[in-house]
Subunit: 313 residues, 2 copies
DNA sequence: ATTTTGCATAACTATATAATTATGCATCAG
DNA sequence: CTGATGCATAATTATATAGTTATGCAAAAT
């Protein structure tokens, strides 16, 4: 049971004594007298009903209890400090803000609902949504310009210092407009896509290497007539109006497929199965607002996913 | 600046009022009178120099400040609660313990040093190291029996509810004893490995599908003479004493290769490049001791990695 | 138009607190 | 042996606290 009488004074004093391994020095930096420190520590020990320091005549050392408690005490005061800080931040800027990077896969599927849900929970937090090539987003995330990036797991060499939270997995799809010539055949020869314009992800896209591998695995070499694009809005419009074939992560076109605007080509893309999730920095702790957004995205993703699974049956 | 006079009484009272949206109800559940709650909230507001609630005649609502502060206040009391809990845990069990799952890749390379380093930082924390098939370890992690699993990133479908922190990436190696017949040729025909006994990871190993794909890509079908094993000690001994070829993640045999006990076959395994890292649960927050261990592993991994890079030049 | 609801304020009281100074006591260095 | 170091304890004091009861007051409900 938590002793309500514990003040932050006790914790900061404890932390200072632990850091300095000395009551006298701690008293000095805290600008109070030595007996005051002694007494404060004793109070804390009484409240916790555990000895935190071993006292000797040559300084003090943490007991096992103290060593353990040290971490939690630090976390506790840090949290409160952040709380006080963010209050003044709200006062100055008129609100908190989250900077969010969004990759194409989720930009149109999971994220709109997730953010909508988050905004009902926390309407005063400004969410800034940034789209762009994943290399750029990961760079910004690492530097701290972004708090969170949602999308496919980036290539290993870009992941240093970053943490990945899995949401679901998806594959890459080849889609075309309904009534596309290739679809006339029930089991079309997939190498025939070389006869058409193909929209492919550009070099810097996460799925580029995966797409390459898949094409090779299916015996399709270099595509003679190709357009490289990241723009799903362009890809969507272009594919619906021409005979072009669009190679794109499934999430980006899932709703279009469901609504019949686009049709998936019958090709085995199981090799392209890959994880979609949330990427964050490791070093800086996740702030509560970001944590709330993460939860909202996770919830929405699982809902979204179960819907998709249901739709397939 | 943090007001030292803030007590946990203030925070818990604040949290309760925020939760109930009512001073009267909060007073009830806290078993004190309504004016006491009013006063406590006012004190907290004075200490923070910010209004936390809008008072109306139909309950109270959080202000923007209050909404923001709420999260941090929650985090702060949670941390202290955990601290108090872990003290009693230490008292009962005579020490904290971390349960750690270790996959073969890192069992012999990164982890020994990492844990040694961690023990110098936190000698009183018992570290229990569990090895085993990854499916089992991931299951235990999800249930809470393990706090952390270190190794290759598991297949997407096992990653739900888990978070992955990238450490480095490695590929899969084909190794044999020095002086192996295949090595007589400078550029041996790799399909000839079918002529030998091959040790391969079993079905439930993380790298199993990757190995399968690689074998197919190199035009090697089913292996006629194969032994499936997870045991690196068996694999190591068997490979050194016979003409068997061992397909195993590079990390598990890196030191043997460096010391000349085993030799890598010259085969392109770049497709098998994959992330190695730390897997944790998302929902339960990472406790300070586990966080320290994570840092120790990360440090050791980057040191280890830079050494490897240096060794290659 | 009352009554009820929900919170604030005031007045009061017994404790608790947060310091202080003065002092004691063991250990360690010289 | 002596003094310095480092912490604990005691005595003291002004202030803060954590509650209490009693009361007020505006909005909402009846």
């Amino acid at each position: 049971m938590l002793d309500q009488r514990i003040k932050f004074r006790h914790l900061t004093c404890f932390l200072e004594v632990a850091r300095q391994r000395s009551v006298v020095k701690a008293a000095d930096t805290l600008s109070i007298t030595q007996p005051a420190v002694s007494k404060t520590i004793r109070e804390l020990e009484e409240h916790l009903d555990a000895r935190l320091f071993d006292r000797s005549k040559r300084g003090v050392t943490l007991t096992d209890f103290g060593k353990v408690f040290l971490r939690y005490a630090g976390a506790s005061v840090t949290a409160l400090r952040q709380g006080v800080d963010s209050i003044s931040q709200v006062r100055m800027q008129g609100g908190l803000s989250i900077n969010l990077g969004v990759l194409p896969t989720v930009a149109a599927s999971v994220m709109p609902n997730a953010i909508r849900h988050f905004k009902t929970l926390s309407p005063d937090t400004t969410v800034k949504v940034v789209a762009g090539p994943n290399v750029m987003l990961m760079g910004q995330l690492r530097v701290g310009e972004l708090d969170l990036v949602v999308g496919r797991l980036a290539e290993p060499d870009q992941m240093s210092g970053l943490s990945f939270i899995h949401l679901y997995s998806e594959h890459i799809s080849l889609v075309a407009r309904p009534g596309h010539p290739l679809l006339a055949d029930k089991n079309p020869d997939i190498t025939r896509i070389r006869e058409f314009t193909v929209l492919v992800p550009p070099k810097h896209a996460i799925i580029h290497p995966t797409v390459d591998k898949m094409l090779i695995a299916h015996g399709i070499g270099a595509l003679p007539d190709r357009i490289e694009t990241v723009s799903t809005s362009f890809g969507r419009a272009f594919t619906r109006e021409t005979d072009a074939i669009w190679i794109i992560s499934n999430g980006a076109v899932a709703s279009d497929i469901a609504e019949g605007h686009l049709v998936e080509l019958p090709i085995d893309t199981s090799d392209t199965f890959g994880p979609v999730g949330l990427t964050t920095r490791i070093d800086s702790p996740i702030s509560p607002p970001v944590e709330m957004l993460i939860n909202a995205v996770r919830e929405e993703a699982s809902r979204h996913h179960s819907e998709q699974a249901a739709a397939k049956t």
